[in-house]
């Protein structure tokens, strides 16, 4: 399949899903919004792929919905509103029921809706210049899914602080590592190589065991 706002690559057993709107901080426009499900599905269904890396082109990892662009596309806006209201979003690997291990490699700013991809990945590593923030409340918007996902996996105070400080504070990569939101911080230039190493190593394990393990871990989060 051809993608306009995403890049989907294969390198041996590792599939790459790359946000590809670097000129707009990789914000999710109408095209990217509709391309996600097919991209995750394609990599998950490919028997040669055993692990998936998710990263971004350019200086930012992912900066959330491109509200301005979406406003110009009433059909996409309606669809995103409906999926938000009903919580039937199909943008992350978790939303799309991906069974293979997913590693997020945060290559720069991860803001607002970008936190979806951190919360919903199995492993997260970050470049040393990566920062995390949730500007929703600074522009009159509610923060919910991303921060709910994060608070199930990280100390809650960190998450509520990020949600309530909005655009006025950023969490740096090293603090995110201390708190267990990411597990490794590497120099920016080495990020993709390190992600590839980790994914290749994971890809050597028994795929059935990985699938079951992933399922059990995520199921455990379904208990209050």
């Amino acid at each position: 399949m051809n993608y306009q706002a995403l890049e989907v690559l294969r390198d041996g057993p590792v599939g790459w899903l790359i946000f590809d709107r670097p000129e707009s901080g990789n914000a999710i426009d109408a095209r990217m919004f509709t391309e996600f499900e097919a991209a995750w599905r394609e990599l998950d269904d490919d028997p040669k792929i055993r692990a998936i890396v998710n990263t971004g082109n350019g200086d930012c990892f992912q900066t959330g919905l491109d509200v301005k662009q979406l406003a110009n596309d009433p059909e996409a806006l309606r669809s995103s509103s409906r999926q938000t209201r009903d919580f039937t979003l199909r943008i992350t690997s978790w939303h799309c029921g991906v069974r293979k291990p997913v590693l997020a490699a945060v290559n720069g700013v991860c803001a607002g809706g970008g936190l979806h991809f951190v919360a919903d990945a199995d492993l997260v590593i970050a470049a040393d210049n990566a920062t995390f923030l949730d500007p929703h409340v600074s522009i009159g918007q509610v923060s919910a899914f991303e921060t709910i996902g994060l608070l199930k996996k990280a100390p809650m105070e960190t998450v509520s602080r990020m949600a309530l400080l909005g655009a006025h504070e950023r969490l740096n990569a090293e603090r995110a590592r201390q708190l267990g939101i990411v597990s490794e911080v590497v120099p920016q230039a080495a990020l993709r190589q390190r992600a590839a190493e980790l994914a290749t190593s994971i890809a050597e394990r028994d795929p059935d065991l990985l699938r079951l393990s992933k399922q059990m871990h995520w199921n455990a989060l379904e208990v209050p």
Binding site: H136, G140, Q141, V142, S143, P155, L164, E222, P224
Partner: protein, 265 residues
């Protein structure tokens, strides 16, 4: 309203709730417990207050229930026991359904029941000389509600260790920071209130209505598994649709000006 054991102040958009029994390390007696309920409600109802800071006067933040009163006043003990059995309690912002952002600023010792206000705040900062411990099991008491709140929000081992080591070990502010129980260690300690005010003023720049809905989504998520939490979060998210702040925010951003938010209803 006037209070005997608390001080309620307003500094700009920041409301302050200050424990004021410094001679007994701000231990909570029966009267203070009742005053908490009123003070949280007063600050929550005041539209000029956008963020609430909670701290303590004197050397320490809070040292839990005033055990000497419990021991000497049979009626107070009975009332306290009954309220805990029914979990009909009203002394934290969470108990009182306060949906404004709450910052707890821990000065000195926070022990035992003092953890209620660490567990139930949105943001917790502490002076560099703050200390945390839970003496319940050292004085023949069960650790319960405070620890349950903490366990939902931070690494469990640290909470269990405090519960079982009781008064024989103290956690430093630095360790609390490492664990994500608090997000800032303020040094020197006497700059704690300045920093809390500054943080409060920063948060006050965000949409009050959006923050209230966000708070409901996040605290509601502690009651549910992940998928159900997202579904109930969607309700809070959608509750803001059509609110004037949703258009004011992006246009203020585009115009590079401070947004003019609607006060909380």
């Amino acid at each position: 309203m006037t209070y005997q054991h608390l001080i309620v102040e307003r500094h700009g958009p920041v409301g302050w709730l200050i424990n004021d029994r410094p001679d007994v390390r701000n231990a909570m007696n029966s009267a203070m417990r009742d005053e908490f309920a009123d003070a949280w409600s007063e600050l929550d109802a005041d539209p000029a207050v956008r963020v609430i800071v909670h701290t303590g006067n004197g050397r320490d933040f809070q040292t839990g229930v005033d055990v000497s009163e419990l021991a000497s006043d049979g009626i107070g003990m009975e009332r306290y026991r009954q309220s805990m059995e029914d979990f009909d309690v009203h002394f934290t912002s969470w108990h009182q359904g306060v949906w404004k952002p709450v910052i707890t600023a821990v000065n000195g010792i926070c022990c035992g029941g003092g953890f209620h206000w660490v567990a139930d705040a949105d943001i917790v900062i502490a002076a560099s000389d703050a200390q945390f411990f839970d003496p319940h099991t050292s004085v023949g008491q069960v650790v319960a509600v405070e620890a349950i709140g903490l366990i939902k929000k931070m690494p469990v081992e640290a909470v269990m260790r405090m519960a079982f080591l009781g008064k024989y070990e103290r956690m430093s502010a630095q360790r609390a920071y490492e664990l994500g129980m608090i997000s800032e260690v303020v040094d020197p300690p006497d700059s704690l209130r300045d920093r809390a005010q500054e943080l409060g003023e920063t948060i006050a720049r965000n949409s009050p209505a959006a923050m209230a809905a966000t708070k409901k989504a996040l605290w509601g998520a502690l009651e549910e598994g992940l998928t159900d939490a997202c579904k109930q979060g969607a309700k809070h998210l959608v509750s803001m649709w059509g609110h004037p702040d949703q258009t004011e925010g992006p246009s203020a951003f585009a115009d590079k000006r401070e947004p003019d938010w609607k006060p909380l209803q």
